[in-house]
């Protein structure tokens, strides 16, 4: 099995190469076949690897494959090599299966686009790069995938490049994440100079040997890695690019900006958990970043009118939960939430895409309404996604994963405050999710849908809806069946780490009940505000203070405004001011000085004997005077 591993990222990359070179000359059917087929094959292979892995686990819980040596200078060894352990395998399964579904969906969604083959070329490249990221056996190859997905994100956000706003959004995404990437790169330098390797396994072994817990270098390195993670995963303070990234086609938002790429930061921290475990301060920062982000983004989501931007803020918020889980050392809970989030958020985006397509590219939830009977399939699937996002008890996947996180947070030392914030976030999540449900699917119909999803859009919606509901069965808590399949599967990866305090089953049930109240309460509040008393509350919504607050939250708490004034404009002004290159003025000044000196000195050369004699006499007089007076 291991010798076929290269095909998993290799197939989508081949798809990219084919489509990039000949795509414009191929018929659409062939493009679809290559584009979807390569990812579907990759998914099939991933499943086969998973089956073989489960059937007979390899010796050290990982398949390895080295293709060739990439860099080898001095002690620096970085190969093009893969290492597939349970963590990587989980990521691969999600990427390829959700990816294949989204590719299939795209064949219908993008059917009328003139750049059909370019779209699939970029999407295939993305899948290839993302798989490289998660399968890499060293940090340098991981970094290659990391930058590769960033490139694809850039290309796909700006896919409809005729509108300059889309191009700007793409640039913003690339540059803001590159700020994080720079931190990550410096983190790599520290790791290599200090530990002499970039191989992930060796790092995990050498770091605890070289650095005591809490040592300055461990803290510095973990902080730098965290810098990379917050950039990619759109967490505070580098979250500003993700809402704008919604400028890309909706399948892109589903695949890259919800299910896979934005969770790369979570993966990075989980993958290098051995280093983070040595830096408890940074872990606390991770948890705080997560909890603050999840709260701020949830509030912002409440104020959005653009359907996709609601989902974007929701994504930021949900990744905040994953960071919170990582921060309290609940590694596998974070990965569990990554998986369920990939299912329900991809589903929500795809359903949103179907709605937007039917509404002639209108994104405003206030101009939708009453779609429940007009688009029943979309309604039921979106509802499944919204329930899962709101963590509706027992019947949704989101419930189990969020529950596991909250329980772990409660159990962590001093985690009660974090838990309260997480709970408030859970309540807000339910409110904004059902705000969308009520505004879009209930109430007065405003427009007749122009397009009903065909089978290529319907199948992915249905499959993801099922996964969003039952995916939680992979990890049933002790209070509800005690079937922790995923935790056991991931155990070899996170083995040997201090586990959080165990809760009693009674405590778990208590926590669950409180969380249930929060979720159901949120749904109730949404119903009251946006359905039952919506008309009566219009006057309240129009108050100046409410309006201002809404605008403030609509603009994501003013971070863009702040960064624009602190960083962007000063840099631009400085660049503009120095357009002509100040150093050149100095060079010209030198040239002028020489010319000026020449002019003055040449004046003395008048050619008149009288003048020369006068100067000569003066000179002699001065010299004699000096000698006499000395």
């Amino acid at each position: 099995m291991p010798e076929l591993l290269w095909l998993i990222p290799g197939l989508p990359m081949t798809g990219f190469a084919l489509l990039a070179l000949w795509g414009s000359r191929l018929p659409r059917v062939a493009v679809s076949l290559v584009g979807v087929g390569s990812v579907a094959l990759s998914a099939a292979l991933s499943v086969a690897v998973a089956v073989s892995f489960l059937a007979s686990p390899p010796a050290d819980h990982a398949y390895s494959l080295t293709l060739w040596q990439w860099l080898g200078i001095g002690g620096l060894q970085a190969d093009i090599a893969f290492r597939v352990d349970p963590l990587a395998l989980l990521m691969m399964l999600v990427i390829t299966i959700v990816g294949a579904l989204i590719h299939l969906y795209s064949t219908e969604y993008m059917a009328r686009d003139e750049d059909y083959s370019r779209f699939f070329a970029y999407m295939n490249l993305f899948v290839g790069a993302m798989l490289t990221l998660v399968m890499a056996d060293n940090l340098l190859l991981l970094y290659l995938g990391w930058e590769g997905v960033g490139l694809c994100s850039y290309l796909l956000i700006g896919f409809w490049y005729r509108d300059p706003a889309n191009g700007k959004a793409a640039m913003k995404a690339f540059i803001v994440t590159r700020v994080g990437d720079a931190a990550l790169a410096v983190g790599l330098f520290v790791l290599y100079t200090q530990l002499g390797t970039l191989n992930l396994e060796e790092l995990a072994a050498r770091a605890p040997a070289a650095w005591p817990v809490g040592s300055a270098l461990a803290v510095l390195t973990a902080a730098l890695l965290l810098g990379g993670a917050v950039g990619k995963s759109a967490q505070l303070p580098l979250q500003t690019w993700l809402p704008d990234a919604m400028a890309g086609p909706t399948p892109v938002s589903a695949l890259i900006h919800a299910a896979t790429m934005v969770t790369a930061g979570v993966y990075l921290i989980a993958r290098t958990h051995a280093i983070f475990a040595l830096a408890p301060t940074v872990l606390l920062v991770v948890a705080v970043v997560g909890v603050v982000t999840l709260f701020l983004a949830a509030v912002s989501a409440l104020a959005q009118w653009d359907l996709k931007r609601v989902l974007a803020y929701s994504t930021i918020s949900q990744i905040g939960y994953m960071f919170l889980a990582l921060g309290v050392g609940a590694w596998s809970a974070a990965m569990f939430h990554f998986m369920t989030h990939a299912f329900f958020k991809a589903l929500l985006f795809l359903a949103a895409g179907a709605i937007i397509m039917a509404m002639h590219e209108d994104h405003s939830i206030f101009r939708m309404g009453g779609l429940r009977h007009r688009m029943p399939l979309v309604f039921w699937t979106f509802l499944a996604g919204a329930c899962s996002l709101s963590a509706l008890p027992l019947v949704t996947a989101g419930f189990y994963s969020k529950d596991e996180i909250l329980a772990a947070v409660w159990a962590a030392d001093g985690g009660q405050w974090l838990w309260v914030m997480g709970l408030v976030g859970a309540f807000l999540t339910a409110v904004y999710s059902f705000r969308v449900v009520y505004l879009v699917f209930f109430g007065e119909a405003q427009k007749e849908p122009a397009h009903q999803p065909g089978w290529r859009m319907a199948v992915p919606l249905a499959v993801l809806a099922v996964l969003a509901l039952v995916g939680g069965a992979l990890n049933l808590p002790r209070s509800l069946g005690n079937l922790l399949l995923l935790d056991h599967f991931l155990e070899p990866v996170f083995a040997g780490l201090a586990q959080h305090r165990e809760l009693t089953v009674a405590q778990e049930i208590h926590l669950q009940l409180i969380a249930d109240v929060a979720a159901l309460g949120g749904i109730l509040v949404a119903w009251l505000l946006y359905r039952r008393y919506r008309a009566d509350l219009a006057a309240v919504a129009d108050l100046a203070v409410v309006r201002n607050l809404r605008t403030y939250w609509l603009n994501g708490w003013g971070f863009d405004w702040l960064y624009d004034r602190l960083v962007v404009r000063p840099y631009e002004s400085l660049a503009r001011l120095n357009r002509a290159d100040a150093v050149d003025y100095l060079v010209h000044a030198l040239a002028r000085f020489v010319a000026e000196t020449h002019r003055i000195l040449s004046r003395t050369q008048t050619g008149e004997v009288r003048w020369y004699v006068a100067v000569l006499t003066c000179g002699v007089v001065i010299l004699v005077a000096i000698m006499v007076l000395r």
Binding site: I73, L151, R162, P164, R178, V186, F189, D581, V583, L586
Partner: protein
């Protein structure tokens, strides 16, 4: 008898030039172009063949050719040529870029005979610089490469060509004179007096602890700064860079390609061939100045590039930015640092940084060479390089857009493309010597991304300007000139080993030799 391969390669273009000069300027235009192409191709083939007899596991000078040139009353000058893992990649780069430039230049219609003749002479000078192992010969080749470039800018250049050509000439001449002074200082210090680069290196003239007050302090300092000025102007290192944008903006396309692709490397080559091995003590003593200027080049170059509206000027400033990475690696290769801050890895860090610097020279050559070709492509069609007048060309010229974006991403250091490999090696190596400076230099990669993406945005994205609906995509000649470079970007990006092994042997040897000579100085060199 063995064939003197290096001389053959170096002087084949001279034969081409003589033949061109014998042809009639009006009737034989295509023959002139053909001859130039054939001789550039022959020289390229010889340089490619060099990889076969070259032993990449040997750090010594290979394929040596040595003969007495003249002996005037004890003033001995040898004709001494030879290559190692430092010069071989640069030689290959030179012959490749010259060949592609000549092919691209078939579209030149004005004074073809002189143009091609100058191009052939230029190649002789450049190859000579990289092969020469005697300072006298080195200096002759150095100056030979200057003259044709002066005329290429001054005759086939843009509207302000005379200003640019004179600026280029005066700057370079100042550098050359400083270098000449340094060469003489070396000559008269050596015992017995010699111009031979290898011999001068082996004499270890200024071995031992170096610092203010040691014997030879002033002569060694003079030599170091003489070479420094000569090389730094060529690189160009901030603040000696202002000739570069003007020269690039006015130069014809192929001239810019050679200027950025090869001539700048003569400066960094000089640092690695001369300053480091011959003057390791002073180099270490003053390395902190180099690293600060390198940092300034990286940040300042990116800042100024950001503001440009002329595409060619933008790429020119990107060269200042990228050559800064090379100089960072060079400085780290010798820079003083707290001796046991990193224990045994210090030497490894130096080797890594220097490997990165040399590979970055090669990569900058292919990437920026390609970028200048691409600037020419759009200028030939639109007759403007004003970035604000373009927009939406992605659909109009898809192949052009694809190749341009690939070259831009290679330049901003995207992994899988070559620029990343060398930048990473420079950074990871330098970090072992200068932690703070390297961390600051990494900021450069953000700024680089900013100006390249902003450039892509203005040319290719947004609504199509009506003015440009007639523009055609790249033609055959343009593809021939750029596709091989793109292929190399990808190849070196994912499999740099063949080239790196070669470079690594030579650079490991160099760092080892230096470590035998240097005794770490105490004092102000310890920053960072």
């Amino acid at each position: 008898m063995t064939i003197p391969l290096l001389s053959l390669m170096t002087f084949l273009p001279l034969v081409g030039m003589v033949i061109i000069l014998c042809l009639n300027r009006e009737r034989h235009v295509n023959a002139i172009r053909g001859v130039a192409t054939v001789f550039a191709a022959l020289s390229f083939l010889v340089s490619a063949y060099l990889f076969l007899p070259f032993n990449s596991a040997d750090s010594a000078i290979q394929l040596e050719e040595k003969a007495l040139w003249f002996d005037a009353a004890g003033f001995v000058v040898n004709y001494h040529m030879g290559i190692d893992g430092l010069s071989l990649p640069l030689i290959f780069l030179t012959t490749l870029l010259t060949l592609l430039s000549v092919i691209y230049s078939w579209r030149i219609t004005e004074r073809v005979k002189e143009y091609m003749a100058f191009f052939m002479l230029l190649e002789v000078g450049m190859l000579g610089v990289f092969c020469a192992l005697d300072f006298f010969l080195f200096y002759v080749f150095w100056e030979v490469s200057l003259v044709p470039m002066y005329f290429l800018i001054g005759i086939w250049g843009g509207p302000r060509r005379e200003y640019a050509a004179i600026k280029f000439f005066i700057y370079t001449l100042v550098g050359s004179l400083a270098m000449l002074l340094a060469i003489l200082a070396m000559y008269f210090t050596s015992q017995p007096h010699t111009f031979d680069i290898i011999e001068l290196t082996n004499q270890k003239l200024f071995a031992g602890p170096f610092g203010f007050g040691v014997k030879h302090f002033w002569v060694a300092t003079l030599a170091f700064w003489g070479f420094f000025l000569g090389f730094a102007i060529k690189v160009p290192l901030f603040p000696f860079h202002t000739w570069l944008p003007d020269a690039h903006v006015e130069a014809p396309t192929a001239g810019s390609v050679i200027l950025a692709g090869v001539l700048l490397k003569m400066g960094t080559y000089g640092f690695v061939r001369v300053s480091l091995p011959m003057l390791p003590g002073p180099a270490q003593y003053f390395a902190v100045v180099i690293v600060l200027l390198a940092l300034a080049s990286i940040i300042y170059g990116a800042l100024v590039a950001m503001a440009q509206t002329d595409l060619k000027k933008l790429i020119a400033y990107s060269s200042v930015n990228h050559m800064g990475y090379v100089m960072l690696g060079v400085a780290a290769a010798v820079g003083a640092t707290v001796p046991d801050r990193y224990g045994p890895t210090l030497e490894v860090a130096r080797i890594t940084a220097l490997n990165g610097a040399v590979l970055q020279m090669f990569n900058h050559g292919i990437i920026t060479g390609a970028l200048f070709f691409l600037v020419g492509v759009i200028y030939d069609r639109a007759h403007t390089r004003d970035l604000n007048s373009f927009g939406g060309l992605a659909k109009q010229m898809p192949v052009y857009a694809g190749i341009m974006m690939m070259a831009s991403f290679a330049s901003l250091g995207l992994p899988t493309l070559s620029g990343f490999v060398s930048e990473f090696l420079v950074f990871v190596g330098s970090f072992g010597v200068y932690r703070v400076f390297t961390a600051l230099a990494v900021l450069g990669v953000i700024f680089t991304a900013v100006y390249f993406l902003w450039m892509i945005q203005r040319i290719f994205l947004g609504p199509l300007n009506r003015q440009w609906t007639e523009l055609t995509d790249m033609d055959g000649g343009e593809l021939v000139a750029t596709v091989p470079l793109c292929f190399l970007m990808l190849f070196i990006g994912i499999y740099p080993r063949p080239l790196l092994d070669l470079i690594n042997t030579a650079m490991s040897g160099l760092v080892y030799e230096m470590s035998q000579v240097i005794h770490l100085v105490q004092g102000w060199g310890m920053w960072g």
